[in-house]
């Protein structure tokens, strides 16, 4: 199985994604640059975290218009599984593959910490079979992770099962104290209407090995591998 990791100037979690694919999953990874017009035969596309183009203008805004995104769009529209992590989530909202927007954290400071997430909504390629009875522990690291969508969009997302991750506490309660960034409805991740494009602020690639203090993130990578094989 082949994972394509898209690298923009300023991406800094691209190699972390490659590492998980190659060394944890034992699958193939291709690193594709922002200027590419081809994604190099992917089964899965990962848009990694980082500060693409320095976060100048708005986070993800310039990357959303990079040449490689035409190929990402084609792959997504063809039903291919796409996961945008952190800055990758921002890129997906900026290019319109996912609804809503990500603004400055409500607390105004950058937040790097473990958070708890519930898996809910539709069964996406990255969440199919992942446990729903107990929350996952996954780190966040962002300055602009406050998810916003207008009331109508929010109602549609909730109604169609497009909210796939929500910030909760360790006991699974979703309230303001469990929300690290002021996101509406504690939303940590969503998918598109078809369910194949997923964006999330937390970093599953950072907790896929016991050495790093957690393995819940690995469940998402295992899920997509299970779906495709």
């Amino acid at each position: 199985m082949r994972f394509t990791v898209v690298s923009f100037p300023g991406s800094n979690c691209d190699h972390d994604c490659v590492r998980v694919v190659e060394e944890v999953l034992g699958e193939q990874a291709a690193l594709v640059r922002h200027t590419a017009d081809d994604l190099d035969r992917p089964d899965v596309v990962l848009l990694p975290g980082g500060f693409s183009y320095g976060d100048y203008l708005r986070c993800g805004a310039i990357a959303a218009r990079a040449p490689v995104m035409a190929a990402v769009r084609r792959f997504a529209e063809g039903g291919g599984p796409v996961l945008g992590i952190c800055n990758g989530f921002q890129v997906l909202t900026e290019c319109g593959l996912l609804p809503g927007a990500l603004g400055r954290n409500a607390g105004l400071d950058f937040v790097c910490d473990d958070v708890w997430l519930t898996v809910e909504g539709r069964a996406t390629p990255f969440t199919r079979g992942v446990r729903r009875d107990a929350p996952l522990r996954v780190p966040v690291a962002h300055h602009d992770g406050c998810y916003f969508a207008d009331d109508a969009t929010l109602a549609r997302l909730e109604g169609e099962g497009q909210v796939v991750f929500r910030y909760v506490d360790a006991a699974g309660r979703s309230d303001a104290t469990a929300n690290p960034n002021g996101s509406r409805a504690n939303i940590a991740g969503i998918c598109n209407a078809a369910g194949n494009v997923v964006g999330m602020m937390p970093h599953p690639e950072r907790c896929a090995e016991p050495l790093l203090g957690g393995v819940d993130g690995r469940l998402l990578f295992d899920a997509v591998r299970g779906v495709l094989s």
Binding site: G10, D16, G54, F110, C112, D113, P139, R206
Partner: protein, 740 residues
């Protein structure tokens, strides 16, 4: 209008040169310098670049050892990490700019130390920082804390290098002069280290990175003066950082180095183009000619003087192997960076700059570097500290209340408010996160090994006894890394002092060097890189001597690293080591007035070495469930801190201790470690075999911190209550609104 010689005494003074130094400069040149030459000498002969007051003393530091691949003198130190890997690291100050403009000052400090590391061919994998702020209730402190932390985070987070640890404390001596010391560590193949040398006559010299602007001109000179009224007006001398460009520069530089295109490389740091050129030529014994009009410029109308002195950030000077120019250009342009051939390596031994064909600088490299002034400045021996009689100790009514008060001081309190703003996990190598252990641990890519790092210095000890205090900084940082299970191997230092022109300051500097040298020799941790920051004073008030130590340590198996918190109930808590508790300079004494009284902890590097060896033997035998060294706040604070991570309490009996009750609880016994173990007998036997005092104090368990002395329960407090006080300390400081 370009000033021409003869220069007025005022112009010479503004260039940071004394009349004697200017006379020496003219004698070396055999003529008066041109205006750009005067600028070049001004920065190259500054304290910041020339180490003119410190060099005679730095020679006393041990700098060699079997693991040392590169000691001081290059951009960073290099140590063998095994299996063909090397770790490259350095610590550097950015104190003066951070006080004037905290956000950009701290950010560019991070950028600069990263460049020092990747310039050697190493990929940066960890950042730490050591911060010293003024008293918590000083009106400017909240602004400075928020600005510095925001600047460090903003830069490190964006370049994608995790900020994995550090140290922050507060003291009135830093009210007018905060300290921002940044540490960076990278990894490289041991046989692929790049040096800052302008090698190979005829090789082309390329300028790579951001365009040059007018920012930071005379930054090095500013960093070599004390502050006075009007320092705010120096804001234009502070550079502005662009971490996005730095990230591209890291990737482009490592790719160019990996393709073996370079004969030498150096970043442009303090004193910019001037110092990178001259230092590279000096190390190689070569010369350089630069065409200044080719330098990519951000603004129009820039002069040679400005181009030579600008400290614009994110710039590198690369000496390319002849014939490989096109490959270099292709790589750098692919990363979207400016690149331009600006000169050539010569064998003239001279630094020559032309401006549209006219020679504007032509000076011997040796005059700038080797002939730079070197002073053995007058010094006064620091006075010996006097013991504090038991009768002079302030009274202690309620030990539990004092414990809570100590935990609530921002110096001891949790640093979570700071490190939550730093991405400490990017690169997926962080094994011990900030706050989880006594030292940060990061795995070395492509191996099972780990590297542990700690930065430390207790300046109150140094103020009382600079020799002991400086040595204790080495001892404590070594104990920190040993607590997580790593063997200390080498040191980088950042020596922050007041004006060297005051003999009493110079006396403390010399004593601190001797203290570091003694401790490093005993622990076999040579000093492989470092930095000196002098003139940390405002209107004649100097900081305490603050010789910051960055300790680097290695472990075979990163997965074996342990944290500082008691992980479970039912473990035995053992104190290793017999360092006597000291109240001189302690935080407890500071609760009741001036802490600068009495004797600081005793420096005994040989005893510390035995404790470290025993601790590492215990780690190897699997006997350490958690470990935490005793430092500020003493044994009681250390025990309480161990309960916070997992909410596991402790019942400790300290009757076997010595001295008055405040000393037993809160005396700072540097050289002792609190270890939790599942096998008490085995740990005590191991300690006895290795000749180290070990003392069982009680079991872990419950949700309270209970301390008993002579059958009297002197502390009985809920873990949650103490932890709340400890966690509230720093947020309370930054919540205050102060003026800018």
């Amino acid at each position: 209008m370009t000033p021409t010689p003869p220069y007025t005494p005022e112009v010479i003074r503004q260039h940071g040169l004394t009349p004697d130094e200017y006379a020496r400069l003219e004698a070396l040149l055999g003529r008066a310098p041109t205006w750009p030459e005067l600028g070049v000498f001004s920065v190259m002969w500054s304290e910041h670049c020339a180490y003119k007051s410190s060099r005679v003393h730095l020679r006393r530091l041990p700098t060699t050892g079997p693991r040392v691949i590169q000691g001081p003198g290059e951009n960073a130190g290099v140590v063998d990490a095994g299996d063909g890997w090397a770790v490259v690291f350095k610590m550097e100050s950015h104190n003066h700019p951070s006080f004037i403009e905290p956000l950009q000052g701290a950010a560019t400090g991070v950028g600069g130390i990263l460049r020092d590391v990747f310039t050697m061919g190493a990929r940066p994998i960890a950042l730490l920082n050591a911060l010293r702020f003024g008293r918590p209730d000083h009106p400017r402190t909240p602004y400075l804390v928020k600005g510095v932390v925001g600047g460090i985070g903003g830069y490190g987070n964006c370049v994608g290098v995790p900020t994995v640890g550090g140290d922050a404390s507060f003291d009135a001596c830093y009210d007018g002069n905060i300290l921002v010391n940044a540490f960076a560590l990278g990894v490289a193949r041991a046989d692929r280290i790049f040096l800052g040398r302008a090698e190979g006559v005829g090789n082309p010299v390329f300028y790579v990175g951001s365009k040059t602007g007018r920012d930071g001109i005379h930054g090095a000179t500013m960093a070599s003066e004390e502050f006075g009224e009007g320092s705010e007006a120096k804001r234009p001398t502070v550079q502005v950082g662009d971490p996005f460009t730095e990230k591209l520069l890291i990737e482009a530089s490592l790719e160019v180095m990996g393709a073996d295109l370079l004969a030498g490389v150096q970043d442009m740091g303090a004193a910019g183009l001037t110092s990178s050129s001259c230092e590279m030529a000096s190390r190689a014994g070569s010369g350089l000619v630069l065409e200044l009009d080719r330098v990519p410029m951000r603004e129009t109308g820039m002069t040679p003087y400005e181009l030579l002195l600008s400290e614009s950030q994110e710039r590198m000077l690369m000496v390319c192997k002849r014939g490989r120019e096109d490959e270099l250009l292709a790589i750098v342009r692919r990363w979207g960076l400016d690149v331009c051939e600006v000169g050539r390596v010569t064998d003239s031994g001279r630094f020559v700059c032309r401006w549209h064909g006219d020679v504007v600088v032509d000076v011997p490299v040796g005059a700038l570097v080797d002939e730079a002034p070197c002073y053995d400045r007058p010094r006064i021996e620091p006075p010996s500290p006097t013991p504090l009689a038991d009768a002079d100790l302030p009274p202690m009514a309620d030990a539990g209340a004092d414990l809570r008060a100590l935990l609530a001081t921002p110096t001891i309190g949790s640093k979570r408010w700071i490190y939550r703003q730093y991405d400490h996990m990017v690169q997926t190598g962080t094994v011990i996160r900030p706050g989880a252990g006594d030292a940060a641990v990061v795995r070395l890519p492509e191996t099972q090994r780990g590297v542990a790092m700690s930065v430390d210095c207790n300046a109150r000890y140094c103020a009382l006894d600079p020799y002991a205090g400086a040595g204790l900084a080495v001892v404590e940082s070594a104990l920190n890394v040993a607590c997580v299970g790593a063997r200390p191997v080498a040191v980088t230092d950042c020596l922050n002092f007041a004006s060297p022109e005051r003999p009493e300051v110079m006396g403390t500097f010399a004593a601190a060097i001797d203290g570091i040298a003694a401790a490093c020799a005993a622990l076999e941790t040579p000093v492989v890189s470092g930095n000196v920051s002098l003139y940390n004073e405002t209107e004649g008030r100097g900081i305490h001597p603050t010789p910051m130590i960055g300790m680097v340590a290695l472990m075979e198996d990163a997965a074996a690293a342990v944290g500082s918190g008691f992980p479970t109930d039912g473990l035995a808590v053992v104190v290793l080591g017999e360092a006597p508790p000291a109240l001189g300079g302690s935080v407890w004494l500071g609760l009741r007035g001036d802490p600068l009284r009495g004797l600081p902890p005793r420096l005994d590097p040989a005893a510390a070495r035995k404790v470290i060896d025993a601790l590492l033997a215990a780690h190897a035998a699997g006997l350490v469930a958690s470990a935490h060294d005793v430092s500020e706040g003493g044994l009681a604070v250390a025990l309480a801190e161990c309960t916070f991570a997992h909410g596991v309490g402790v019942a400790a009996d300290l009757s076997a201790g010595e001295g008055p009750l405040p000393a037993r609880l809160f005396g700072e016994a540097i050289g002792t470690v609190v270890v939790a173990t599942a096998d008490r007998d085995a740990l005590l036997a191991l300690a006895q075999r290795l000749g180290v005092t070990a003392w069982f104090v009680g079991p872990t368990g419950g949700d309270r911190v209970v301390i008993t002395v002579d059958e009297r329960r002197v502390v009985d407090a809920g873990v949650a209550d103490l932890r709340a006080a400890w966690e509230a300390a720093l947020p309370a400081v930054v919540a205050a609104r102060g003026p800018l």
